[in-house]
Every structure is written in structure tokens, then in C-alpha cells.
Symmetry: C2
Subunit: 170 residues, 2 copies
Amino acid sequence: MELKTLIRDVPDFPKKGIIFKDICPLLQNHTAFSQAVDQFARRFEGSGVDVIVGIESRGFIFGAALAYKMGAAFVPVRKVGKLPSEVIQESYALEYGNGTVEMHRDAIVSGQRVLLVDDLLATGGTMSAAVNLVKRLGGHVVGAAFLVELTFLDGRKALPGQDVVSLIQY
Amino acid sequence: MELKTLIRDVPDFPKKGIIFKDICPLLQNHTAFSQAVDQFARRFEGSGVDVIVGIESRGFIFGAALAYKMGAAFVPVRKVGKLPSEVIQESYALEYGNGTVEMHRDAIVSGQRVLLVDDLLATGGTMSAAVNLVKRLGGHVVGAAFLVELTFLDGRKALPGQDVVSLIQY
């Protein structure tokens, strides 16, 4: 199945002039959803992944399914104020201003092998911040996996030295 | 493994006087996470589930893993303004004011068998609204599954006639 045919372009979302890549049609197709998870799993088979980090909130969808498939733990990276216990933070640049993401301070044990997952690679700012959170806790970053990559935004440049994988490219 | 031992009480979150049930320690334990997903799957084995609906955003974690395990589609229910395409809405009462959740209008095909998933059953308001969204699209609700149920809040009363399942009770 050609996964790309199940990504829907939604014009002017979240604001005028932006064409949003909607992954919902892919999620609604159980064959495509399984196939995407299996492709990620095959790509990182034998990498000894202990922990999948999923980035709020669409990253939770592929991250959690992949954690189940690979027999790994699941750790969420969330926006500010959503995680209840003690956190560490990283900020990153947005088009206007800054974004901040958080992870529980006890989420990762030093030395664990960590694969990060999100739905979309755009400029790479959020993923880069999430990678820093993992490293600050002593985690070893095995790679960063995305369903969709907008190659014209050069997000890989924000993730130097990382094994970046995407299943669908624009 | 006793899943309940991996739920962490966080006092005064999100506000003073509330003891938050934090599921993160359970997610961080890959054996417990797999076990929880497998328990849900066994409970609804043979129910012919076509679609798992996960409620933003912790419901995405167990919902997506369960969709993968059961070979079902995944559909997100989200807060207002997050879904890009045409949506239907349901509102529900909160302690102060109202909450509203949305689902894509094309998310479910009439006649599909749907299992709804969230992390926590409290008063049942959000889940009841999500059940209504599914029914409005012609879906047949097979059940509502929660990792944790706060039985003293009587959330099941908000879900009359539904097959409500929880893995951990307080």
C-alpha cells in the first residue's frame, strides 16, 4: 500500500496559506496503520531500543504502537504544565517566539537506548529539543522517526549526527 | 505484575487538593505496558472491533497500541480546533463550565464497530461525549476501556448500557 496516498492536504490550517498534512486518513486505514508501524520496527530492529519517546500529541499515536510492537517502554514529551511530577525543560525557536517541551526527570535511566517518534518533521525544532531532554538524562539516542518529512524545510539540519527516518517525503 | 503498583499519586496536581493518578511509571515499564494492552485486547477479543477511538491525549497512548494489537483503525477525539478537516462536536459539563470534543465527520463509516479508549474514568463526561460522536456517525459502540477508574466518582452512570472496562480501580 502506498502510504502517501492516505495523507490528506488541508489548505489554510492551522492558518491561512499553510497546507496541513493530515495523517487521519492513514490512521483510519488499519492496513496502512499497521504497515507504517511495522516499517518503523523493521528499520530499528536490532538497535536494542529500550524506550520509545513520543512527542505530544500525534507522536503518541505512532510512538505507543511502536513501543508495543518492539517491547519497549513509552515516555511522553509534553507541552509545559501537562506532566504532573518533577520535569526538565528545553526551549526551541518558533516562527514567532519560543516553544518549550518537558519530560519527567525520572523518565529515562542513564544508558537506556532511546528512539524518538513524531508524526511530522518540519523545521526539526521540537525534535531537537526532545533529543536534548533525552541526552540530559543520560539516554543514548538511537534515532528519530517520523511518518512524514517536509524535505524543503531541511529539518534534518537541526538533528546533526542523528539517524533520521521518515516513511513519507514531500 | 500488579499494574496498580505502577500508578503514582501526585498531590496537588493540576490544582491544590487533587491527587493526580500518574500513569507514566506504568508506561515506563515495558512489561506492564504490554500487559495492559494485552489485557484490553483479550477482554474485547471476538467483539469484531473495526475502529479504536482514542481520546486526547493520554487516550492516544493505549488506544493506538491497542489498535495495532487488534488490527483495527485508529481515530482521535480531540479538543476544539486541533482536527484540520470538517468536524462534529459534543459538549459536556465540567466542574466549572463546559468542555467540548471533536471528531472528523468522515472518521467512522456507518455500521463500524467501535471501542473507545481513555486513560482515566472520572465522572465520565468526556467519554460520554465521545460515545455520542461515534453514534452520530452511525458507529456501533462495542465498549469503553480505561486504564484507571475512580469508582467513587460513579463515572459508569454517565455511560448507561455500555460495556465499561477498567484495569485498575480506586
